[in-house]
Amino acid sequence: MEPMGKVLAISPEKCTGCRLCELVCSVFHDGMSNPARSRIKIVKWESEGLYIPMSCQQCQDAPCLIVCPVKAISRDEKLSRVMVNHNICIGCRSCVTVCPFGAMGFNVIDRKNFKCDLCDGDPQCVRFCEIKAVDYVDADRVSIAKKKAAAEKITAAQRQAVALESESH
């Protein structure tokens, strides 16, 4: 079977906290500037300079999908995402309660839940994030940056070990 679906890859350490992703998300989906409508949110610890982008992880075994009493939530395997059918949704907010990431939002104006739909394969948060704190990558690449960083540490340690050894001789 062919591998399918890219994933949203978030690198919190790169995030500058500007929240342009929140703005473009709400404008793209609803035509409104309003972070309360954004599918992505930058959670901040300002006194330490920490900014963490939070969005739907499009879980394989999604708690929101399991808990939904009317089966309004389903997986779209083509884009590897979890989708809500608002024709079926009864607005009970069970999905909001169970999501471990707080990624299911509830719109205070339209009184409907909402979540990241990966903009049908062209996530606007990624498109506008110049520093790529939010990226959209093939699933097999999602851990590559971490692998490299860890590998770098190992090579540095190895070099140090070699240097120490040659010094002691």
Binding site: E13, F28, G31, Q124
Partner: protein, 646 residues
């Protein structure tokens, strides 16, 4: 939509709050942000009022494009009569406050009177409440913000606050938001303090409808690509504004030891690369932060690496702090820079004014005009890092004779100190100059002399004049949206063509401040960045309002004229050293001692300077005294001011 954001009038003496819409015809004339604030200031204050009395009115605003997709619509503007110079008071800051205010339903606040005891405003989805600030009084800038969040139980609240400096009515106290976003220069924090107004907290979830979302998104994307491809912004996004220091110091444009030298030598420790390294060391390789929606992200995050403040988190330091805590007082330690920056951030005090005024006092101390009697034993010589930081504290808390005196700002302090102390004060309209030295750059000298809020680099500075752009490129920039076929010169030491450049930038930056965007997104440091023509599109896509580039120019010119009318009402006369469009004699009399070969020995030529001012006045439609001609007021539709439309 953006245009349905309201204006609120808040009387702190009576507790009365009135909310009104902003009519479109007023928008067309004064746009929003600083321009509309200037109109409101002229209409809501009387001549000669005490800036720290209840009759002063303070305006807080976002621009016409705040929280839209115009690119970095983060700027908050605050305006009142200045307690520093008694002229126009105005400050503009980045961060996240203005967008939050807009999502809470408002573009403009007009705050009058004085509360009986400390209060703060709580603005939430169309409603405004005056709340007790007893528990906030005495708190620092960040303590205040976190305490408000805790009290109201919402971490997403954004607040404009004052620190101890504002409470103590230091005449150059800031309005602050976030860790270090500073509404600096003309003491707007002291005006808030004088009204017992500790903070303005906002939080909103109200929709701002974008008129043409698809076009606005695509335009924003192009805008970002354009902005992030500009080399100046890439550098800015890595080193922050300190990169300007290295570039300016190299040719001799940095003010040292108050005004004795124009270049700092042996200063590796405070070079931008060294600051960048220190930030990276404590915060990791990605240590830059951005204001709302901005892809330039010029704000560095750091933890103080050494000394008694080791481990303390702050942001910056900006270019201005390098001058304030390094070149002007002649200190060269990274730790002093980072600590000084942290102190003024937490006290809510203008870094630039603080550094400048202490350096002035240092020169007076060196000359014997001030002695250890006035300094209460403090050895206030140049290069004394400890004395510098101690003086920062004394000013904020008005401790000792000198601390209390300097807290009054340069002009009042010079009257108290007496002798010829005023001769050494580098200021215009009561406001100290940035740590830049304009003796080799006539365009920049004209800019600081004629700027509406005093010696200021953000009102009309043609910074790109230093790039030696080919005349044809300059012609392309400066002939739009109004034709200009007069002389232009690529040479930054020249006088010809400069008045038009200053006039053009004055209108350009007014446009920026009315739109609520950042100057790094226009023809300020980058010659290829957007201005009037792009703004006409971006206003249309986001608000649906149609403006030609020329109409935006006209509105900007009108807003600048309102600021001038205010200053004239407060006593502006052309050559008055305290209230005029005039520079300290040192610019004309003391030659530059250091710098590039074409800089050493330079002074501003008095006669040529006069001619530049004449020409600048002509472009603005002023007579030889700097007063608008009747036909100018008629052309700009200002002949009936104050017109009380709002």
């Amino acid at each position: 939509m953006a245009l349905n954001r309201k204006i609120a009038y808040i009387d702190l003496s009576t507790g009365k709050i009135e909310i009104k819409p902003i009519p479109i015809d007023v928008r067309r004339k004064f746009l929003g942000g600083r321009g509309l604030d200037a109109y409101l200031l002229y209409n809501h204050t009387e001549k000669g009022i005490d800036p720290l009395g209840p009759k002063n009115t303070i305006m807080v605003s976002g621009g016409i494009l705040t929280a839209t997709l115009a690119s970095a619509t983060a700027r908050t503007h605050v305006m009142a009569k200045s307690p520093l110079g008694g002229m126009l008071g105005s400050c503009n800051m980045g961060g996240f406050f203005a967008p939050e205010l807009a999502w809470a339903g408002f573009h403009h606040l007009v705050i009058k009177g004085k509360a009986e005891k400390p209060v703060y405003l709580w603005i939430h989805n169309g409603k405004i409440e005056i709340r007790d600030a007893k528990n906030l009084w005495g708190k620092t800038v960040t303590e205040t913000q976190w305490a408000i969040r805790e009290e109201l139980g919402d971490d997403d609240i954004k607040s404009l606050v004052i620190g101890p400096a504002g409470e103590n009515l230091v005449r150059f106290a800031n309005v602050m938001t976030g860790i270090k976003n500073s509404g600096g220069r003309t003491g707007m924090g002291a005006v808030m303090g004088s009204k017992n107004l500790k903070a303005i907290a906002a939080r909103g979830t109200m929709d701002i409808k974008i008129a043409y979302p698809k076009e606005a998104l695509e335009y924003n994307k192009r805008f970002i690509d354009q902005i992030t491809s500009a080399k100046v912004n890439q550098t800015q996004g890595t080193l922050g504004t300190p990169f300007i220091w290295g570039a300016t110091n190299s040719w001799g444009g940095v003010r040292c030891r108050n005004f004795q030298y124009n270049q700092e030598l042996y200063c590796d420790e405070i070079e931008p690369e060294a600051i960048d390294e220190a930030c990276a060391e404590t915060m990791g390789p990605y240590h830059m932060a951005g204001c709302f929606g901005c892809q330039v992200h010029c704000r560095a995050k750091y933890k103080i690496p050494t000394g008694p403040y080791a481990g303390v988190y702050d942001e910056g330091p900006e270019y201005t702090s390098q001058g304030a805590f390094c070149s002007e007082p002649d200190c060269r330690s990274l730790e002093t820079l980072l600590v000084g920056n942290h102190l003024v951030d937490q006290y809510g005090m203008d870094n630039l004014e603080t550094g400048s005024i202490i350096s002035w006092a240092m020169e007076l101390y060196e000359l014997g005009i001030l002695t250890s009697k006035e300094t209460d034993g403090l050895d206030l010589r140049f290069g004394n890092d400890e004395a510098l930081l101690e003086m920062v504290k004394r000013i904020c808390f008005r401790k000792g004779w000198l601390g209390d005196t300097l807290a009054e700002g340069g002009v009042i302090a010079s009257e108290k100190i007496g002798k010829n102390s005023f001769d050494y004060l580098i200021q215009v309209k009561g406001m100290s100059n940035l740590h830049s030295d304009e003796r080799a750059t006539p365009a920049l000298a004209l800019n600081i002399a004629t700027s509406s809020r005093g010696s200021d680099h953000l009102r009309s500075r043609p910074a790109i004049d230093l790039y030696h752009l080919p005349v044809e490129v300059m012609r392309k920039i400066y002939s739009n949206p109004v034709p200009y076929d007069g002389p232009l010169s690529s040479e930054h030491t020249e006088y010809i063509g400069k008045p038009w450049q200053v006039f053009w930038h004055e209108n350009c930056y007014m446009g920026v401040d009315c739109l609520g965007i950042c100057k790094y997104h226009t023809t300020f440091l980058g010659a290829t960045l957007p201005n009037f023509e792009d703004w006409s599109k971006v206003i249309y896509y986001n608000t649906g309002l149609e403006f030609t580039p020329r109409e935006i120019w006209d509105s900007a010119e009108r807003c600048n004229m309102i600021e001038r009318l205010f200053n004239l009402r407060e006593g502006l006369t052309r050559e008055d050293l305290k209230k005029g469009d005039m520079l300290n004699h040192r610019y004309f009399d003391e030659p530059c001692r250091r710098g590039a070969p074409d800089v050493v020995g330079r002074v501003i030529d008095r006669e040529k300077f006069k001619k530049m001012v004449d020409e600048f006045y002509e472009y603005k439609g002023l007579d030889k005294n700097g007063v608008p001609k009747p036909e100018t007021l008629k052309r700009l539709g200002l002949e009936k001011e104050p017109s009380h439309l709002l």
